[in-house]
Symmetry: C2
Subunit: 210 residues, 2 copies
C-alpha cells in the first residue's frame, strides 16, 4: 500500500539512507530552505513532501535523545546496583572474615580505605458562532498571508508568503518586499454571526474531532 492510497509517508531505502547520512553529518533542525532542498532531492527516489522531512528530523532527534537518556539511566542503575551489591558483600565479608577478603574487594571495586563503613546512594456575545469549514470565500487570497522569517544561515529576516494548515505552516516563496496583512485589507465581511446554533468545536482538554 505504499504507492497510492497510503495515508502516511513511508520513506524508501534511499531516502532513509540519505536522511540518516544528513543526520549523521550534524543536521538536527533543518531550516525551511534546507528542508526544501532535501525534499526536492529526495523526491527523486519517491513521493515525499516537506513536512515528511520536517517530521523525520524532529522525531529522529527526539528519539535519539530518548535513547541516550535510557542508556544513561540504565547505566546509572547498574552502577548503583553494583555499588549496593558491593556494599552488601563488603559488609557481609567484614562480618565473616577480616583483612584478607576485605582487601580483595578493595582491589576489585576501588575502595580507597580498607575499612570504610559509610556509602551515599543519592537521587473567547454570540454563543452560536460558526465557521464554514468548506470556506466559501476566495481561497487564493484568503489562505495566503505574509510573514517574516528569520533565516539562520544568512542571518537575515526574509518576507515570506505563507498559509496556514492544521497546526502548521508553509512558505510560499516571495522576494524581499515590505509586506503585511494590514495592507491586504479584509476581502469580505466575515460571516461571524450566522443564524444557526450549531457549535463546531466543543473540545475541552479532550482531543479534537479528527
Amino acid at each position: 500500500m505504499s504507492p497510492a492510497g497510503s495515508s502516511r509517508w513511508s520513506p524508501t531505502t534511499e531516502q532513509l539512507m540519505i536522511l540518516e547520512e544528513l543526520y549523521r553529518s550534524g543536521i538536527r533542525t533543518p531550516s525551511a530552505s534546507q528542508i526544501q532542498q532535501i525534499t526536492t532531492h529526495l523526491s527523486f527516489y519517491g513521493r515525499i513532501e516537506g513536512k515528511n522531512v520536517f517530521y523525520w528530523f524532529q522525531n529522529h532527534k527526539a528519539r535519539d535523545r530518548q535513547k541516550l537518556r535510557r542508556k544513561l539511566t540504565k547505566q546509572l542503575q547498574l552502577q548503583q546496583q553494583q555499588q549496593q551489591q558491593q556494599f552488601q558483600l563488603h559488609h557481609h565479608c567484614q562480618q565473616l572474615n577480616q583483612d584478607h577478603i576485605t582487601n580483595h574487594f578493595v582491589g576489585s571495586f576501588g575502595y580507597s580505605t580498607a575499612r570504610s563503613t559509610t556509602h551515599d546512594f543519592s537521587f473567547f456575545n454570540s454563543p452560536s458562532l460558526i465557521f464554514q469549514g468548506g470556506a466559501a470565500n476566495t481561497p487564493e487570497q484568503a489562505l495566503s498571508c505574509k510573514w517574516n522569517v528569520h533565516n539562520p544561515q544568512s542571518n537575515l529576516v526574509e518576507n515570506k508568503e505563507m498559509a496556514f494548515c492544521n497546526y502548521g505552516w508553509t512558505l510560499v516563496d516571495v522576494d524581499n518586499q515590505a509586506s503585511s496583512c494590514c495592507t491586504t485589507r479584509p476581502l469580505k465581511t466575515l460571516d461571524l454571526f450566522p443564524l444557526t446554533t450549531t457549535r463546531i468545536n466543543e473540545d475541552c482538554t479532550a482531543t479534537p474531532p479528527k
Copy 2:
C-alpha cells in the same frame, strides 16, 4: 511600540475581545480555514497574521487548563488540610469530652459514624554535507509543495499547496486535483557535495542559533 518596529504581535483591544468571545463560544483548536477567516476579520482592527491567531488559541487553551489544574490542586490541598484539622480536632475533642462535641463535628463535617477512628486518606559518505541557506534555486517552485489536508469540518481530504517555514507550515489554497511531489520532478541536482567543510547545524539538544 505596538505599531511599527515591534517584533511580536500584540493584540488590540478589539482583537482580543473577539478572540475571547470566540473562545468562550467553544472554539479551542480552530482549523486552517477557521484561522484564516478569523485572521481576515481581525486584520480590520490592526496588523495580524494567521500564526498569531493559531498561537493565541494554543496558548489560551493551555493556560486555561493550567489555571484549572492549579485551582483543583489548591482545592485538594485545602480539603486535605481541613480534613486533617478536622481529624485532629475530632481526636482532641474525643479526648476532652465525649458524645456532645463529637456529634457536633459529625454534623458539620459529614462523618458517618460518631466514633470513627481511621481515615483513608542516510547513502552519502561525506561528513561535510552542506546546504546553502540562501536558496539559489527558483524559490517559486522550490518552496511550494503539494499536500493533502484533512478538513475536520467537511471531513474531506483536500489537496493544498503548501510551503515550509521554520518549524511550521501554510496552506496556499489549491483546488481538488490529484497532485504529488513526484510528478514535479526535482528542479535541479542538489548541491550536496560542496568543497567547503563548514557544518551548518551542530545543534545537539541545545537551542539552535537564532
